[in-house]
């Protein structure tokens, strides 16, 4: 080709060979066509209003196991040693084998909202999480994730609550709420319709267990197993407080867990949900577990927080919406001593 064009230059001064003409004119034509096609492809001919597009998001499956007519759906255990009480309460429900099968991928959702040492009872106690995790592993779970999106800095919360150490000791997968861990969730709640959700741990999960502390809350009176799911949401959560009871009852619609565990060994009775002094904490030596979080929370509010259930609007709402039964005594329950 080079010789050709050289020849062309020599024989026809200022002229070019046909071959060179075709190549050069072809390249320019292709660029013109490409630029026009790309512009047309990217062209948005209509105006649009920002923020009002159609919203879609993922649907969360139910992680609940089949309802049993023989085994209790709620169990209460009393004692002084975390692990013994947890073993007793799960035993009363029929053992972890009822909930977790060999090869299950399990998400444990503690409440690590604040940067607090365990003794202040503002977060799930590490021994409680460890006991539940051990039972889950003994039941044959292939992988256990621990995940929460705290209010304070995630690294600080997991470190100081002692839960990071539990994850290290038992070889659990601790998941920090990284920006890429969230995807929008779509649901038909009273208020919650479309919200950014901590999806990463749930991508492979087959079972979900909520492990919540039992504590006072300044606005919604108490934070227990239902309120615990708050920590799976991202985004502008500080708007939830404008409809707090509707939102908390929406959590019961959003998440159908395999099991919830309410840690009432030490209960944060006042100055919640943060606490801060040992005098805010009352030892109650009780753990409640069950498949119906409304029932579990009803027991927690009346027997652990020792308050009147009628004032707890979100329980009433969840009950009325058919998301659970606030009359825990109606369900099949078992109370044991560890």
């Amino acid at each position: 080709m080079k010789t050709n064009s050289n020849d062309g230059d020599q024989t026809r001064p200022g002229g070019i060979s046909r071959r060179e003409f075709l190549i050069r004119a072809g390249a320019t034509t292709a660029l013109i066509a490409g630029a026009s096609a790309a512009a047309y492809k990217l062209w948005q001919p209509k105006h649009f209003v920002p923020g009002f597009g159609v919203q879609t998001g993922l649907q969360l499956p139910s992680y609940a196991t089949a309802v049993s007519k023989v085994l209790p759906s709620l169990a209460i255990a009393h004692g002084s040693d975390h692990e013994k009480v947890i073993r007793a309460v799960i035993g009363a429900l029929g053992g972890m084998g009822r909930f977790i099968q060999h090869g299950d991928v399990v998400v444990l959702k503690p409440n690590v909202a604040f940067d607090r040492p365990p003794a202040l009872a503002a977060t799930t106690h590490p021994e409680t999480l460890a006991a539940v995790a051990k039972l889950v592993l003994e039941a044959g779970a292939s992988k256990v994730y621990v995940a929460d999106n705290p209010i304070n800095s995630p690294t600080g919360c997991f470190l100081k609550s002692g839960l990071r150490q539990v994850a290290i000791d038992l070889n659990l997968d601790l998941m920090y709420p990284e920006a890429s861990s969230f995807s929008p969730l779509q649901m038909d709640g009273e208020i919650l319709k479309h919200w950014t959700f901590f999806h990463e741990p749930f991508k492979k999960a087959t079972k979900v267990i909520g492990v919540a502390p039992c504590k006072d809350h300044n606005l919604c009176h108490a934070s227990m197993t239902m309120k615990n799911w708050y920590g799976l949401l991202g985004g502008r959560r500080n708007q939830f407080h404008q409809h707090i009871h509707s939102i908390v009852s929406d959590f019961a619609l959003m998440m159908k867990p395999t099991l919830v565990v309410l840690d009432g060994m030490n209960v944060l009775m006042k100055n919640g949900p943060t606490g801060g002094r040992l005098s805010d904490v009352k030892p109650m030596g009780t753990v409640v577990a069950g498949t119906d979080m409304v029932a579990v929370d009803s027991y927690g509010y009346t027997h652990l927080m020792e308050r009147d259930l009628d004032e707890l609007t979100y329980i009433q709402k969840a009950h009325d919406r058919g998301l659970g039964n606030k009359n825990w005594k109606d369900s099949l329950y078992k109370e044991v001593q560890a």
Binding site: G156, Y176, S180, L219, Q239, G275
Partner: protein
């Protein structure tokens, strides 16, 4: 191994060590590593803080380990240890005149009068320090490099590779200024090799002054020398090894020793004085000019009153910070505290704390809040601008119960923006997140008639100034995110008697009162 290769090994090692310390200054990885080692080795930090405070704070004594070899061998720090110098050396090799003609390379490494500018800068900084304003951090290479990594480079890496450095992306006020400054200084290597080290570096100037007394130096044997100038080809410091060596400029990189084809150059013990220029060349009037700049910087900065009555409400200092004027005596703007902060609340100040306080740490509650059980900023502060307080000291518990907690400021409501106060909407997120017990934010239930005539029961929040520690989590979590309905301002901070709010400091008595009332 040839000495040049030994040096390269040392450079890789120290640069990697610096990067390691920068990366592990994170709550997840901290295990008592001496992350401030390079800052503590830096004799300019130790000396300048000794001038302002008349003491050498804790680990800064390590600087002696660097002063001694400098007095013996000259500026070995600059080309063997200094991570910023190593960066410039590397970039100069990568982008500079490596492929240029031999003559051009030789010419680019001749000494220029411009290189005495760094001594003027050093004089200005020392004089400002004598007046009581510590400004070495602007250009001290270790402070500058730490700051650039924290504020510009690590966030940049995390933006490109999400979650590689932080769990959540960090933001820093004025990051672009610090980032572009780094790029400019590094990019200047294309025009002048080792531009920063030769022209601007006040630490280099300090070490250059110390090297006046060095016992060993590069020496040229004039009987062997054929005046080929090849020793200049790779001269890092532009120290004129081809004639009388400028001791204060020599980085002791040993390139000339290995480049000399006649073996005329060697590293010698006590060579003849007449074959060297021992002291830095700085004309007296330039020195005077430098002093005037230093005095002026102090005087013009201080006379704005930013460290005094005219303090900015946003000048909220980290927990354990010393009183503002002492703070300006100590803070070297290295921004290690900002790197260590687990919530991103610490920010390099722009002009909030005045001219003198540029790039010193302040809290920006929009980006984070001071975590109650955290004192990391003080643990990594090499100069004691933020003291190494314990959690008990910070929260006023245990044996510190009588003196009460350390307050950073006080939260104030802007009721016109507050949802329950102005907009008939329930909220009190602020009360929920308030971390002290009893809560400094409390609420009162009221039933009001809404615009449409229906009644609504709301909780309306208040601040108890005696209990508020100014951590700012209320402001951070407030749903009115552009300008929160509750905002912390600096008044009421414990570190300064001039900025107190309550007569008795109030804290402990308020707690006792509340306990009595059994709320």
């Amino acid at each position: 191994m040839k000495i040049r290769n030994t040096r390269r090994v040392a450079q890789v090692f120290f640069f990697a060590l610096f990067l390691f310390f920068v990366v592990v200054t994170d709550l997840r990885y901290l295990k008592g590593y001496p992350v401030s080692l390079f800052l503590e080795l830096d004799p300019l930090v130790a000396t300048a803080t000794a001038i302002t405070t008349h003491t050498v704070y804790m680990g800064l004594i390590t600087a002696v380990l660097l002063i001694i070899p400098t007095l013996l061998f000259g500026r070995i720090f600059c080309n063997w240890i200094c991570p910023y110098g190593i960066l410039h050396h590397f970039i100069g090799w990568l982008m500079g005149k490596r492929r240029a003609e031999e003559r051009e390379r030789i010419e680019s490494n001749r000494y220029r009068k411009l290189y005495s500018l760094k001594y003027v800068i050093l004089i200005a900084m020392v004089v400002a320090a004598i007046c009581g304003s510590l400004q070495i951090g602007w250009l001290d290479p270790i402070c500058l490099f730490h700051r650039s990594m924290t504020v510009a480079i690590l966030p940049m890496i995390n933006l490109i590779f999400p979650s590689s450095i932080y769990v959540k992306q960090y933001f820093h006020a004025g990051a672009w200024v610090i980032g572009f400054l780094l790029f400019f200084l590094v990019g200047m290597n294309v025009l002048i090799p080792r531009f920063f080290c030769r022209v601007l570096c006040p630490l280099g100037a300090f070490l250059g002054t110390l090297s006046t007394f060095a016992l060993w130096r590069i020496d040229r044997d004039p009987n062997k020398c054929v005046d080929c100038d090849l020793c200049l080809k790779n001269c890092e410091g532009a120290a004129d090894p081809q004639t009388q060596l400028r001791k204060s400029e020599c980085f002791v990189c040993f390139n000339c020793v290995e480049d000399c084809p006649e073996d005329a150059i060697s590293f010698k013990f006590l060579p003849q004085m007449r074959r060297e220029i021992s002291a830095p060349m700085i004309p007296a009037r330039r020195a005077l000019l430098g002093s005037l700049i230093g005095v002026g910087f102090f005087a013009f900065g201080r006379s704005t009153g930013a460290a005094d009555r005219n303090y900015n409400k946003k000048a909220i200092r980290p927990p354990g910070s010393v009183e503002e004027k002492d703070f300006l005596d100590r803070c070297i703007k290295c921004d290690q505290c900002i790197r260590a902060c687990p919530t991103n609340v610490l920010q390099p100040a722009l002009l909030e704390t005045g001219l003198e306080g540029i790039w010193t740490p302040i809290l920006n509650m929009k980006l984070g809040a001071c975590e109650l059980n955290c004192t990391l900023c003080g643990q990594v502060c090499p100069t004691g601008a933020i003291q190494r307080i314990t959690i008990e000291e910070k929260t006023g518990t245990g044996k510190f119960a009588d003196q009460g907690p350390i307050k950073l400021g006080t939260a104030f409501y802007d009721y016109g923006r507050c949802l329950p106060w102005a907009m008939e909407t329930p909220c009190v997120v602020c009360e929920e997140v308030c971390p002290v017990s009893p809560k400094a934010i409390y609420s009162r239930e009221v039933t009001i008639t809404k615009r449409d005539g229906t009644p609504i029961t709301l909780r309306r929040p208040y601040v108890d100034p005696a209990l508020c520690i100014g951590c700012g989590i209320c402001e951070h979590e407030c749903p009115v995110t552009d300008e929160a309905a509750i905002r912390v301002t600096a008044v009421g901070e414990t570190r300064s008697p001039d900025r107190r709010l309550l007569m008795d400091g109030g804290v402990t008595s308020a707690v006792r009162d509340l306990e009595k009332r059994q709320r």
